[in-house]
């Protein structure tokens, strides 16, 4: 590696359609922040993008160890992309552990940028390297760039008077600066971000900016990098865009739902990974008449939300799979009370505590059936981070219109992943009328109020909130007499009420499922739900690019399912259902539609890869799976 005192000639600029970068380091190295910033720069530049943060459940696993490795993968392109990418083109490894944990994913010829300062004998031994991989031939298939990032950062900050420790900590910004230079990313946003983040410590703000600039200058002034890359902006549909994560989009969807319904929002929630950020975000937006309540446990989270709904607010609770298990009894109560309630489950790996920071889709059957008795609950699922906004609004529409708890199934990859989001026009969001009861309704003209007299069309019962004179009534978990709502143990009444509650949910109006079948005569239909939308779509594109025919469809509504679904399934010779569980949707489809749907499953805690699904689809198309 040679450095010169004067700037060298600008290196060659290579045009690329798409690039996948993975930043990997220790949990304390700030890799998530680095990835976030590169993402923001990339979004501001106008590329399409998709991200995959991947971090341990421990806040700080022992430094320099394999369990402590945290990474952030970003896929950006000059066209619309669907996944965070299978394998990185560029791997930034901040220490030996990050190298060891990630190098297997880097294809031969890939770019590897290594922070050499951490490659000490002690750190190498800690992760089981007998010899320094930078000094033997084990990395010769890659384009390796050895950069003493900590040394260079401390050198750049020598004049600031900052402690060695503080200066060294800015090395992630050095790495960001270097990569920003390599990929021609704009830097104003990052500098502004750092000034705001460290508003109370201007010395740290300046130090981080200096480190960022030093990384940029290092790329510019050394000859180590022969080429830089340019990825032109993507031609997305016209509109205003921003970058958004699934959890933020869910929070915004809830705020927006308060506006479209005209209801005060009450969130009762207990912190749980990976759902807590929804609570954090909503707690900021009190000006929208949003109240957040950090409850003593999951049960209190949903109980308080249900109490707020009884009082005429939009009750919401947010959690992950273990929390849904605790909330089940209260969800059943909400089914019996027939009150609007939104339950958000950001799924993670299970069972039990499982994999708190990894993704999975294994709560579908819990959402569908995880209650005592016949307790049907509508289930909706978003398909991308930005789509979480629309899914929240749709869930609230169903909850308020049909007076029912609704389960929204997000997952870890949607929650923390981000993408460019075409910001909706707030004035075009469809209003939802809570249609509170104001008058007695007894059909016998008695002037009484019957809390379980149903709307002929929706089968919804009236929502009469306390404070409304003349509509005083008592509801509860005991079976109620159809119409009047008083306690009833009558056998025929119970049978009728069980069927009425089921008919109400089955009768919810949901849009037909759309099929993407470009040729119109594919034999294979791939159907999925939730966050597999991206990988399934990417896999299908690859297969189509190879000249094959494949149709895809994605379920937003898991309960009730779209009215045309049976007909769609029947149209194809082969139906394939990839899922991040052991085959939950496929079980529902086979049971409900008597279709010989095939299952493909993967429960690694990571999203499907496009290549994996491409190979899967090809195997079906070639008749390997006849």
């Amino acid at each position: 590696m040679t450095t010169t005192d004067t700037a060298v000639d600008q290196p060659e600029v290579v045009q690329k359609d798409r690039v996948v970068i993975r930043f990997a380091g220790d949990s304390g190295d700030g890799m998530q922040l680095t990835g976030d910033r590169f993402t923001s720069e990339t979004a501001a530049f106008g590329n399409d993008l998709s991200t995959l943060p991947n971090f341990p459940a421990e806040i700080r696993a022992p430094a320099g160890t394999l369990p402590g490795v945290s990474s952030f993968q970003l896929h950006f392109a000059n066209y619309d992309i669907l996944t965070p990418g299978d394998r990185p083109d560029v791997l930034v490894a901040m220490n030996p552990a990050a190298l060891k944990a990630n190098i297997a994913d880097l294809p031969a010829g890939g770019v590897l940028i290594v922070n050499t300062d951490e490659f000490t004998k002690r750190n190498l031994t800690k992760v089981g390297y007998a010899a320094n991989p930078l000094e033997d031939e084990s990395l010769e298939q890659y384009q390796v760039h050895e950069v003493a990032m900590a040394t260079l950062t401390m050198g750049a900050l020598a004049e600031t008077g900052l402690s060695k420790k503080d200066a060294e900590r800015a090395k992630n910004m050095f790495a960001l600066g270097l990569l920003s230079w390599m990929y021609h990313r704009p830097s104003e946003g990052t500098e502004r971000f750092l000034r705001e983040k460290f508003a109370r410590r201007p010395d740290l703000a300046e130090a981080n900016i200096l480190a960022f600039r030093a990384g940029h200058a290092y790329g510019e002034t050394t000859e180590a990098f022969a080429v830089t890359y340019e990825v032109k902006p993507a031609p997305l549909p016209a509109g205003t865009y921003r970058q958004i994560t699934g959890n933020t989009a869910l929070a915004y969807g809830i705020v927006a739902a308060g506006q479209t319904t005209g209801l005060p929002v009450f969130l009762g929630s207990y912190p749980i990974t990976p759902a807590s950020d929804i609570l954090h975000e909503l707690s900021k937006h009190k000006s929208f008449n949003v109240t957040t309540f950090q409850a003593e446990d999951e049960i209190s989270g949903i109980g308080s939300a249900l109490g707020a709904s009884f009082g005429g607010a939009l009750g919401v609770t947010t959690t992950s799979g273990p929390g849904v298990a605790l909330k089940s009894e209260t969800i059943g109560l909400a089914v019996a009370l027939e009150l609007p309630l939104l339950i958000i489950d950001v799924q993670r790996g299970g069972p039990s505590t499982g994999l708190p920071t990894k993704t999975e889709q294994a709560d579908l059957l819990q959402a569908m059936f995880g209650r005592n008795g016949e307790a049907p609950v509508p289930v909706v699922a978003p398909q991308s981070p930005g789509d979480c906004f629309d899914a929240a609004l749709e869930a609230v529409r169903i909850a308020v219109t049909y007076r029912t708890p609704v389960l929204l199934l997000s997952d870890g990859s949607l929650a923390n992943g981000s993408e460019p989001w075409k910001v909706p026009d707030a004035t075009t969001l469809a209003p939802v009328d809570p249609n509170f009861a104001t008058e007695p309704n007894a059909p016998d003209g008695s002037g009484e109020f019957w809390p379980y007299l149903r709307d002929d069309d929706t089968l919804a019962r009236p929502w009469a909130v306390p404070g409304t004179k003349g509509l005083e009534h008592r509801i509860g978990g005991l079976e109620k007499a159809d119409g009047r709502g008083s306690i009833s143990y009558d056998p025929a009444n119970h049978d009728r009420m069980v069927r009425l509650r089921a008919a109400k949910i089955d009768g919810i109006t949901v849009p037909d499922i759309e099929v993407d079948d470009p040729s119109g005569d594919a034999d294979l239909l791939v159907i999925g739900w939730g966050s597999t939308y991206g990988p399934i779509g990417a896999g299908a594109r690859r297969v189509r690019a190879l000249g094959h025919k494949v149709a895809t469809a994605h379920l937003r509504h898991l309960n009730p399912m779209p009215a045309n679904l049976g007909e769609v399934l029947g149209r194809y010779d082969k139906v394939l259902v990839p899922e991040m569980n052991l085959g939950q949707l496929v079980m529902l489809l086979r049971a409900k539609y008597l279709v010989d749907a095939q299952s493909y499953t993967n429960v690694t805690g990571l999203p499907f890869k496009a290549e994996e699904l491409q190979d899967l689809f090809l195997s079906y198309l070639s008749g390997v799976h006849a």
Binding site: V290, F293, G312, L337
Partner: protein, 352 residues
């Protein structure tokens, strides 16, 4: 964390609840549902007292809500012609919390029992009390599980023979008053189901209190724990067992005040009034937490000495008032702009 002075004035428990000048009677508060407790159940007496008491508050019936959990006492809301919810086991305080936080115009009551509140719902009870949500919690304590037909409860005495403890219960019971005080409750009272006057007085003070109020009501289960509180009602020494305390008054009891409560080290003891100095007799102070705690432990829970009345009644900012203050402050100082929120700080335009 810095403490924020929210500048809240001292207000009463019913402030903000719409009032009425219409004459309301117990009959108005009686629903059309047939009461289905066992004959002789103490719940009848409490229901009658509450039906008599509610009209005296002068608030609108439709702004009154009773929320209950599961158990015999939790059927209570069905029998009152107010808004009501019979929820699930132990969870009534959570539901009432969400309701009270979002609806300051409601008078919210929780009806619960010793199993509902202290066993399955113990966590919710202590957190509701420490938060000081404006809820009135009526804990019907009959020291037994009635609805499940006679198992021991968390307030049953040690050694109790029940269906699930044929060799005698080996569980040590909770002292509900001590528990509530330990949970930072701002109002703690106790009454006997059969003492209409005493019960009504405690209910009235609880209603006037802004914040969580716990009222323990000793209540008889004639089927599975018959006569469990009879020593407090009848018998020769009943008046030496029941110690009714009043704020600001010396604690004397028994015929012609023959007995008194005096300090004894860190605690209290009962003495004959004529054997102690008048100045040593404790004057009840419902703001004195240590005194309240000592009163709750004047004797073992064998009812040798049982304090009734108001142990504690102090003002502390309520969770619901403070929550609404934050929300209202934001609503008054910031115009909500949904489009601005959705746009965020960094947007870019794609031109078609």
């Amino acid at each position: 964390m810095t403490a924020l002075d929210l500048g809240l004035p001292t207000i009463g428990g019913l402030d903000g609840v719409p009032t009425t000048t219409d004459k309301q009677t117990a009959k108005d508060f009686t629903s059309d549902q047939e009461v289905r407790w066992c004959p002789g159940c103490g719940d009848y007496a409490v229901l009658a007292a509450v039906r008599q008491f509610l009209p005296t508050l002068g608030i609108r019936r439709e702004n009154t809500v009773f929320v209950s959990g599961i158990g015999c006492s939790s059927r209570f809301p069905y029998y009152l012609n107010t808004y009501g919810m019979h929820s699930i086991h132990g969870r009534a305080p959570t539901i009432a919390t969400g309701l009270a936080v979002t609806r300051p115009d409601l008078s919210v009551w929780v009806v619960t029992g010793d199993g509902d509140a202290l066993s399955i719902g113990g966590n919710h009870l202590i957190h509701a009390l420490r938060r000081n949500v404006n809820l009135k919690i009526l804990l019907f304590n009959n020291r037994i599980y009635g609805l499940t037909k006679g198992q021991y409860s968390p307030t049953s005495e040690e050694g109790k023979i029940t269906k699930s403890t044929p060799f005698g219960s080996i569980d040590h019971p909770f002292n509900p008053i001590s528990l509530a005080l330990g949970a930072e409750a701002t109002f703690v009272g106790r009454a006997l189901d059969s003492d209409r006057k005493g019960l009504t007085a405690v209910l009235g003070a609880a209603a006037a209190h802004r914040g969580s109020a716990l009222v323990e009501i000793f209540q008889d289960c004639p089927i599975f724990n018959d006569g469990s509180f009879d020593v407090l009602r009848k018998g020769d020494d009943a008046d030496t067992r029941v110690i009714d305390v009043r704020h600001g008054e010396p604690i004397r009891f028994g015929t012609e005040g023959a007995y008194a409560v005096v300090r004894d080290g860190f605690g209290l003891r009962v003495a004959k009034t004529d054997e102690v100095d008048e100045a040593d007799i404790v004057v009840h102070d419902q703001a004195d937490l240590n005194l309240a705690f000592a009163l709750s432990r004047l004797s073992d829970q064998d009812l040798t000495h049982t304090v009734t009345g108001i142990f504690r009644d102090v003002a502390r900012t309520t969770y619901d008032d403070a929550t609404r203050a934050q929300v209202n402050h934001e609503r008054e100082t910031r115009t909500p702009d949904l489009q601005a929120l959705l746009n965020g700080r960094d947007t870019w335009a794609v031109v078609g």
